[in-house]
């Protein structure tokens, strides 16, 4: 039981932290009329202008 719990913390901990970090990252999602989507992370050069415009709108 203790071993299973340790394994859960070892595997789940980093995954949980990664998900939390990703949720806090700034990004832009684009949806197109053909059903496709594009996600731009905050370090993508194309995202900088769009994020600046969004910040101005906030």
């Amino acid at each position: 039981m203790r071993r299973a719990l340790g394994l859960l913390v070892l595997v789940g901990g980093p995954l949980y932290l990664r998900r939390r970090r990703d949720a806090r990252r700034e990004r832009v999602h684009l949806h197109f009329d053909d059903g496709s989507t594009v996600t731009l992370a905050d370090d993508a050069p194309e995202a900088a202008r769009l994020l600046a415009l969004a910040r101005r709108a906030l």
């Binding site: 990252r25 700034e26 999602h29 949806h31 197109f32 415009l53």
Partner: protein
């Protein structure tokens, strides 16, 4: 249903949505949940500028940008367009994007349908005939 009522319904349904503005094809504000004009213009202008910038950069190869979501740590800005109407909305941070986009699209569709529907004509008042004529 008119645009103002559709926006009021939208903000009631979508709890994460804080403010929204409906804009027509020329960029004129159709309805807004923001009381002051400068706030309305800021949100509408920012959202439309995002759509235009995204379209200019990524709208190639016969596909067009219809929705955009910018997630910031302070909140998110959504912009969606359908035909001659666009909607720009501000939400709290980390919203349920799928639900917000669904609600925005539904609002756009409702307003577009209401605008397309011809207004019922008024019946011309009947002339009363003089009694015994």
């Amino acid at each position: 249903m008119d645009a103002a009522s559709a926006l009021a319904d939208l903000t009631e349904i979508s709890s994460q949505l804080e403010e929204a503005v409906l804009v027509d094809g020329e960029g004129a504000v159709v309805a807004s949940t923001i009381a002051d004009d400068s706030g309305t213009q800021r949100l509408a202008g920012g959202g439309l500028a995002m759509l235009e910038a995204a379209e200019a950069r990524f709208g190639t190869g016969g596909r067009a940008v219809t929705q955009i979501e910018a997630s910031l740590s302070e909140g998110s800005i959504f912009a969606a367009r359908d035909g001659n109407l666009a909607i720009v909305a501000r939400t709290s941070a980390a919203p349920a994007s799928g639900l917000v986009l669904y609600d925005l699209r539904s609002c756009l569709r409702t307003v577009a349908e209401a605008r397309e529907k011809p207004k019922p004509r008024r019946r011309a008042a009947r002339k009363s005939e003089p009694a015994g004529a």
